[in-house]
Symmetry: D2
Subunit: 266 residues, 4 copies
């Protein structure tokens, strides 16, 4: 007996193509926006408009941040291999790991873990969320761990995306427990840490995605989807205003040859 | 003097983040859909709603086609390296080369080349387009080259995406010369080739993207953006209904060991 | 002041090229084998011949294992994008993560951690190593963690690479504490686990690389280097005896369309 | 009937592992060097020592050239995603396309095409090769095409790798027609082009690999194999003397925000 491979995603016969159980040409093309479709593909349920608006706000928040390492990598790879747009995009996405894009996923998972361990009902007011946030931050500090989503190297007085995304989520009725806990962490952490740090944009995006019920193991994937659009923008700009070669030369020109130093095992 | 690196994409200061010259939090998040944003990032001009509808129809057409090589690759890479979602997505995108996703770009470029070489004005009616299409197909045949976008291994009687995308483009007033020429090729090619082939979905997408004025050297990039959403869907399904290991075993179990055969240089 | 970027690797002037402080053309090309060079590049010290022999035995052990997920991925990516050999190789390497190639690195790090925490001198005889191995396996079991490098899904009675690599390391005088501890784990683990598992090849490779003093954070990198040679072999075979399309079709033909199931957040 | 998948590469049973028809543990590990093994995997024939020496000289020539775009990309990707060594290596390799590493393959294929079109026997002396080289360079110039492998932006008076590799190939009896034609191009091109350009190292490597009978469609793959070793060296240096963050900041600090300029379709 040979296995078969079930899928609810794309399928086609001689006459029709279906996607998620719908006729692609008749019912999806022309009717379903791209953000909506990405949400639908990931969850196999069609989001309602309010969910789409929050989701697309997250994608906008994460699409491009200028000359990040991922943007530089995509431009340099295109410089080296202009025959392969897919290689330039893939190389840029490979920087979407733990340090940069990972904050979105780390924050969503962290908040979800706290909520999953809650005994009894979730808090019903700010005071309740603040109490939960306080014990959460205290526990992290006691364990010597950072609170994901807290702090930003540029927006030290507040990341403008954070308040805006919370507002949009409220407007659409999708300000759920992850955002509530994240907001409370923003209010109380200074009592524990002795200083006030901003709730960063990557973190609030993770909280919002978790409140939308998107798959936690793939939160990083949505940051990568957003970034794919941003990297195409970087390539389009590189075509007209190339800087890749100048970046390469700026490094190469400041190369300083030094003597080898043998690696010493620890 | 050190070079500087101009960009109109993302920029940030302590208080604000701008994207394409707009305040990201205030003017983009919550107001700009993801397809619209991707278009805007690639062209540095904000599309109007009709353009967005055509563009998003293209992205829907290309997002997922079931168990394509790219989908299989993403699932197998996730099986091997579940710690790296970015690696699984990047690996899948690397299959977006000349054979599969490349048709979109090849078709857009091909049609654009024909139009760029036109002496005099573009045709104004179907008869005019048919005449141009006829000489175009004849020239390709004489040169021993295929016409990109013609033919499909499954949808032999017509790819349902083609008529639908043309309809949407017409509804929105974006049925331009690339789609007109592509449609005419569909009407006349059998006179030259002696058989009727369908205009395929990847090809019509390339024609539509070209009519929208998107950067031709990056048409493949839009197919990759669509596919990124599809591959996230594949991963989300793999999390719940894994088939990667079964695919691997189905190959491994049918492995047949043969004797080496020395490579002979031509 | 502009930073400069120190490097002891490649450098060039109008007349000469140096690598690791040596004249590339005169002193490296024609004199230094490729395994030796890879070792030298990673550690910035030239290995002596015995080290090279052990190192190259490790690379041989890890180069190719037939139709692994990485091999399948490389073949399918080449099928989709034959214009980009670099994409096909990169896609295959992206499967070199925690589950498959990661064992080499995990084992090397695990053994090194145990040795680093040793109080007093390392054991001097088998009895001493057995005692250390016993407490090590007991501690892992108590913590509910696996011992890396132990067990194999095919070579249940012993992985032939393990004894051979230990023999080569002994012949060359590079059977150090990591291999000694790994060997002892092989002898004693059944006392704790109640069953006898083989020491696998990936694990013994990690132990040997650690004994050679190679950088622990990059042990996975050497497995990837070995695999790059294997994947080139896979591509060369695919050119002559293609199976990629058949693998794709075998999956596609057994595709079974099912109804979408909405994702439920935990 | 289910297809099976033939391979002469790795295979394993419960007791043994074979590679290229040989017992891996007994006959390959400890006996076969890594360069030799890579050659063998690619061609399915075991090279003799002289071939290995030429092949490894090529790999040494291509392994690392300091802060190339591929090296910068690997370092930046590791900065962003330190959890994924495979991602950092893969990203670097994706720069191995037409512009940089591609010269090796382009030169090998170009020379081979000329030789394949030869009517009658190949030249037997320098005068004969010079005559063939002259018509070859003239034909390229007439067609408005470059001669691959000719010219270097740094080594304007001669690339030191070129003479050295030719010498090694002669010593080992593997100075074949590709190298002979390439050498002749070096002697005669100034008669056609009116200036003297160096034969570059990437080009001579392609000629040498072609003379060794390695698969022409994969010549780029050998450059990528060499570069994998180089990129591991880059990562090992980055671990100890990190420059990735400084490179990122040097770009980010010189970011200049400009107004968007709408893309104009051609």
């Amino acid at each position: 007996m040979t296995a078969d491979y079930p899928t609810a995603l794309g399928a086609s016969s001689r006459e029709t193509i279906t996607l998620l159980g719908h006729d692609l040409a008749r019912d999806v093309m022309g009717s379903v926006g791209f953000g909506e479709l990405a949400f639908w593909l990931a969850t196999q349920r069609r989001p309602e408009p309010g969910e789409v608006r929050v989701f697309e706000a997250v994608l906008a928040a994460l699409a491009d941040h200028g000359f990040t390492p991922t943007a530089i990598v995509t431009r340099l790879t295109y410089l080296s291999a202009p025959d392969s747009v897919q290689g330039a995009l893939a190389a840029g996405l490979l920087g979407g790991g733990s340090r940069f894009l990972g904050v979105t996923e780390d924050t969503g998972r962290f908040l979800d873990d706290v909520l999953a361990r809650l005994e009894g009902d979730a808090p019903v007011d700010d005071a309740g969320w603040d109490a939960l946030a306080l014990t959460t931050v205290q526990a992290q500090r006691a364990a010597g761990r950072f609170v994901p989503g807290l702090g930003h190297h540029v927006h030290k007085d507040g990341d403008p995306r954070t308040a805006r995304l919370m507002q949009i989520a409220r407007e659409e009725g999708h300000f759920g427990p992850h955002l509530a806990l994240f907001g409370a962490i923003g209010r109380v952490h200074s009592q524990v840490l002795g200083k006030t740090l901003p709730l960063n944009g990557a973190g609030v995006c993770g909280a919002a995605l978790a409140d939308l019920g998107l798959p936690l193991p793939l939160l990083r994937g949505f940051a990568l989807l957003a970034r794919t659009a941003g990297l195409i923008g970087q390539l389009a700009e590189e075509l007209r205003t190339p800087v890749g070669n100048e970046i390469f030369l700026s490094v190469d020109r400041h190369n300083r040859s030094v003597a080898p130093v043998p690696w010493e095992a620890s």
